[in-house]
């Protein structure tokens, strides 16, 4: 297909902004996958951590005019607190060997509680704020990479690298991986399951909260925005191969680009359909996803 040069630029442009969205999905999906890998629980309240991160970003940047250098650490602290609170009832259930169904529905219940509390405290109005603008917009022969997108790329890369270093090099990360692989054997060598469980949730929700601060300037934050984003994160994880950490990063970027291209060709009204279709098609046709993690089928 030969495109006129203007349209070719537009295509590249849309791909780039899709990639920025995709980075966000990857970041949030990362926490999701981490929790799933270590505890086999799909966290339906992950979106609420994102939402709270978004609100923290809103207060600190919009109301207190703080720079992002302080906003991100504070958002991480917020995410850690949320993760700790969420993990308590879930550990109670896991420890008692409750059926997985009950644990998953418990995350839904926690999500409902957090969401309605947020609605009570902050009202249902949507909030918007600007991201940091210290980066310069780059223009390469008609293709513009805005400073916002550039910031999203760099902050995602930064946190993913930090996560990788922690998860694969540090001792705590190694004990988390060991516990995910074989909880019983891990507890035999002195890794406390409760500690690892809490740590997993804390880190997972902190990644969600970081995602929330990134998400705020791209979209708007309201108590319900957690659900919209969690579906995308799940679709990203499924696309890349559920439970695979590199998979969710690849899947997230791919999903973001696909969504934007679909918005161009099919129309923005049905853009939200993409992630749902991805979930269904990938799980039915190739449940192992792109990076080929085997999913147990019956």
């Amino acid at each position: 297909m030969r495109l006129p040069s203007m349209e070719k630029y537009m295509l590249i442009q849309i791909t780039i902004s899709g990639l920025a969205n995709g980075c966000l999905y990857a970041l949030i999906g990362l926490g999701f996958v981490l929790i799933y890998k270590a505890t086999e629980i799909v966290n339906f309240s992950q979106g609420e951590a994102v939402m709270i991160g978004g609100y923290i970003g809103f207060w600190l940047t919009y109301l207190f005019k703080l720079s992002f250098v302080t906003v991100y650490p504070l958002a991480i602290i917020g995410g850690v607190l949320v993760g700790y609170v969420i993990s308590r009832p879930l550990w109670f259930l896991t420890n008692r060997k409750a059926p997985l169904f009950n644990i998953i529905v418990a995350t839904v219940a926690i999500g409902m509680i957090v969401r309605s509390l947020a609605r009570l405290v902050w009202s249902s109005e949507s909030r918007a704020y600007l991201g940091p603008s210290f980066l310069k917009t780059i223009t390469i022969s008609n293709i513009v990479i805005t400073s916002e997108n550039l910031f999203v790329f760099s902050i995602t890369a930064f946190f993913i690298i930090i996560f990788y270093l922690f998860f694969f090099l540090s001792k705590t990360g190694t004990s988390m991986r060991a516990s995910a692989q074989n909880p019983d054997a891990a507890s035999l060598v002195g890794i406390e399951p409760k500690k690892v469980f809490t740590l997993t949730w804390v880190i997972g929700c902190a990644l969600g909260a970081i995602g929330g601060v990134v998400y705020g300037p791209i979209a708007t934050i309201m108590p319900d925005s957690g659900f919209t984003i969690i579906i995308k994160a799940f679709a990203a994880a499924v696309l890349g191969g559920f439970g695979s950490i590199p998979g969710v990063i690849v899947g997230g970027c791919l999903l973001g680009v696909t969504e934007n291209l679909a918005g161009l060709f099919i129309g923005t009204a049905l853009k939200d359909l993409i992630s749902f279709i991805v979930i269904i098609l990938v799980l039915i046709l190739k449940p192992s996803g792109i990076l080929g993690v085997r999913i147990e089928r019956v």
Partner: protein, 324 residues
């Protein structure tokens, strides 16, 4: 000769006859709003009884029950409005159509493990809701569908009382059907699938077929419930079939007691009461649902049915009266 021993089933027989009588007389004494609440209660009971068969008995998760409710509601509404089909027939067709779709959908997706199943069913109901919104030629989009007046021959079914008896009859019939399903061979197969799929298939039972059947049954109940909902409210819109509704049905069976026939009844009563208490404050409503759901999962995994069953056997044990 032993004296007559009043058994647990005798107590429940007396109780159920009393409550049947009560429910039969309800519309005479209640106003329009009270009748509407009872109608809603019955519709919840129907839909969650179907979900209970799928989740409580067969152990499969569905986060997308509202999708099947939507299929039933829109099918029957369109049949009534555009084809002048008698409304009783339309409701049944809506249920059957929904169950066929459930059966077909069941084959590919029920092979997945529970978390994936949760996500696929959720995604499927969200797709359905988006389609309802965007296929506005058929469904009228956000504006929703209104139903014309309902008559069978010369009998007018627009009054709340007559609709009440229709819904009541459907509820009784479907509860009876559920009881029979559960105690039949099919019910035992589903229970054994819940316990162990591998063991069940080693007995030569086609597990994926029976799972699809369970899915179809739950879709049938949801479809009938949807049709009755449309007939009861005379108006349906995409908002009635969102994720929140799907979660409500899960909530009902968890609070009421999964795997008990009485579970959906208790759960629906609780939901209706809570919904009425916080009618003016939707946020408090969601908060109370969430807290109750979490409480039941943490401390009361058997739900209200378990408490009631224990109370029944306690009464039977303690009271010498029943020993004759």
């Amino acid at each position: 000769m032993k004296g007559y021993r009043l058994t647990k089933s005798d107590i429940s027989k007396v109780l159920s006859i009393a409550s049947l009588l009560f429910l039969f007389l309800v519309p005479i004494h209640l106003g329009v709003y009270g009748i509407y609440l009872f109608n809603l209660l019955f519709i919840y009971v129907i839909i969650s009884t179907g979900l209970n068969i799928l989740t409580g008995y067969a152990g499969q998760i569905s986060f997308g029950q509202a999708g099947f409710v939507a299929i039933g509601a829109y099918t029957s509404s369109l049949l009534i409005a555009d084809f002048n089909t008698p409304f009783l027939i339309s409701i049944v067709i809506g249920g059957l159509f929904s169950s066929i779709i459930g059966f077909l959908l069941g084959f590919p997706i029920l092979r997945l493990k529970e978390i994936y199943l949760a996500m696929v069913t959720l995604a499927w109901s969200m797709i359905l809701q988006l389609l309802v919104i965007h296929m506005d030629k058929l469904t009228n989009g956000w504006d929703g569908l209104s139903l014309p007046s309902l008559t069978i021959g010369s009998v007018d079914f627009n009054q709340d009382q007559s609709i009440y008896y229709v819904i009541f009859t459907f509820t009784l019939a479907l509860l009876f059907l559920a009881r029979n399903i559960v105690s039949s061979r099919l019910g035992r197969v589903l229970a054994s699938i819940k316990d162990s799929e591998i063991a069940t298939s080693s007995l030569g039972i086609n597990v994926s077929y029976y799972k699809s059947v369970a899915f179809a049954i739950s879709a049938f109940y949801a479809g009938i419930g949807g049709g009755l909902y449309a007939v009861c409210l005379k108006f349906i819109g995409p908002d009635d079939f969102g994720l929140m509704q799907s979660i409500d049905y899960l909530l009902i069976i968890v609070i009421g007691g999964m795997g008990y026939l009485s579970g959906p009844i208790y759960g629906s009563i609780i939901i209706i009461i809570l919904g009425e208490l916080f009618r003016a404050f939707a946020t408090f409503q969601e908060l109370s649902y969430g807290i109750l759901l979490l409480f039941c999962l943490l401390f009361l995994p058997g739900g209200i049915s378990l408490i009631m069953n224990k109370a029944m056997s306690f009464i039977k044990q303690k009271s010498g009266f029943f020993d004759g």
